[in-house]
Amino acid sequence: MLVAGVDVGSTMTKAALLDENKQVRALAMVDTGANVVRAAERAFREVLATAGFEDWDVTFTVGTGYGRYRVPFGDLQVTEISCHAKGACFLFPGTHTVLDMGGQDTKAIRINETAEVKDFAMNDKCAAGTGRFLTAAAQVLGLTLEELGTVAGEAKKPLKITNVCTVFVEQEIMMHLARGCAVEDVLAGVHSAIAGRTIALLRRVGLEEEITFTGGVARNPGMVRALEERLKLKLNVAPESQHIGAIGAALFAWERAAHGEVSKRRNNSEGRELASGGEA
């Protein structure tokens, strides 16, 4: 048995393939771009190709992320909140709080032992303190996203970034640079500012250990460090942090498949009725 999860994020689309033992067989990631449907298809094809399977080998597929309703081959849609909770709990069973920082939004999720979502908070009004904030900083400084955290780690005298708005911070960064401040000190300030916003969000849901950090921003060691310093706690960060939503989605697919539900694609090809649908 093979199940898949596809997480269509605002920036990247991720896919995960799990077997009957819940072993991750393959992960894939593509740029979401403007065409959400095509991104979902590409990620799905890529994850299958990596593991050496065909799409009819997949028993059940769950879509998640902001573009989940536009995954044409999805058998079920589950919110990214549930999927991140599921995936985080699977990789780190002691997880009670999930911090998901993606390209465009940041979510704090409090969960119980069985990965049930108890409370969550997100920024939905503005891009302050999100991955976009880092993207903007990287652009102004002429660095890649991958370099950001490393460069910030070299800071000697971290600056204080006073603005909240991403647009204003771009200007603030330029002013600091024009005054001759070191790039690493500016960047350390940016990371610290985002950490401050993020921790405020975490406190809104009640910060309970262990905390698992998911989403694309978790790959940034500077962000992990800034959060850990301010929280005075260690965070769980998996190498596959960016795929945790997709893994969570695949786990939901696994549960459905274990209950005997089969993909509508298979059903259709065998002339039977649809197996399931709707939002979990």
Binding site: A34, C126, A127, A136, C165, T166, V167, Q171, M174
Partner: protein
């Protein structure tokens, strides 16, 4: 009054408005008549922008710098104008400038690149109430700039284009950064550029009018700041307010004008009280 060497020397005062995007300078003569104006981009170094703007103003008006006897700075970079005699908040300057341009002004709406503010003013130019948005770029020029960039359209064309819209597309994000994604979604969905632009203009208009309502919008309402050059935004604001607003080609210089007027007042007071204080 004591004259030093040359009794016939005409003396001038200047207002320098260092905005987040544009630095503007305006020159008045002793009689308070405008003698010239100039603007340039502020860039990352306000002190350099201010210096260059003043130099250009002198060249533009063909006068030696010593003839400018008093300079007031305003705008967000007003503390970084090394040659200023005085700094004055942009609120006060916009109020004074708007009243000079339109004497019946009772409400000033200043929409700049980064901030927008609404002021209720007395006929004397005194500010009675004000509200501003300085926390985020929603309802400011940068919002339009970002939208223009993501649509690959020149900023000075967005206003006119927006006026051609038949079916404005709503932009529900307040955040300038998140709005970009919405704009891209509209483009992907095949919506005409002018409809997306009109939606963006409506969004800003909504935000700035909220500020106007908070100070109690008394007529006449005068628009100031760099965004006044954008006819599309003026139209969107008028449509939503349900009334006409005062706007002229001088409106973007209202801050510099106000600063220059206040510089002249201040200089005359100093002249009259202590003639020896002139440097």
């Amino acid at each position: 009054m004591s004259f030093i060497a040359e009794p016939r020397t005409v003396r001038y005062v200047a207002g320098v408005d260092v905005g987040t995007r544009t630095t503007r300078a305006l020159l008045l003569n002793e009689e308070g008549e405008e003698c010239g104006r100039i603007s340039r981009e502020t860039g990352a170094r306000p002190e350099i922008a201010a210096e260059q703007t003043l130099q250009e103003l002198c060249i533009h008006c063909g006068l030696p710098r010593e003839h400018i006897v008093y300079i007031a700075s305003t705008g967000y970079g007003r503390y970084r104008v090394p040659f200023r005699q005085i700094q004055i908040t942009e609120m006060t300057c916009h109020a004074v400038g708007a009243l000079r341009l339109f004497p019946e002004t009772r409400t000033v709406l200043d929409v700049g690149a980064m901030n927008s503010r609404a002021l209720r003013v007395a006929d004397t130019g005194r500010v009675i109430a004000f509200r501003m948005n300085d926390r985020c770029a929603s309802g400011a020029g940068r919002f339009l700039e970002r939208v223009a960039t993501s649509l690959e359209i020149q900023l000075d064309q967005v206003g006119e284009l927006s006026l051609r819209s038949q079916d404005p597309q709503p932009i529900s994000s307040i955040c300038a950064v998140l709005a970009e994604s919405e704009v891209i979604n509209h483009v992907t969905a095949g919506k005409p550029v002018e409809d997306i632009l009109r939606g963006a203009h409506n969004s800003i208009a909504e935000r700035v009018i909220a500020l106007v309502r908070q100070v109690g919008a008394l007529p006449e309402i005068t628009l100031t700041g760099g965004v006044t050059r954008n006819q599309g935004l003026v139209a969107a604001i008028e449509e939503r307010l349900g009334c006409r607003v005062n706007v002229s080609p001088d409106s973007e210089y209202a801050g510099a004008l106000g600063a220059a007027i206040l510089a002249r007042q201040r200089w005359q007071r100093l002249e009259n009280s202590t003639p020896a204080s002139r440097n």
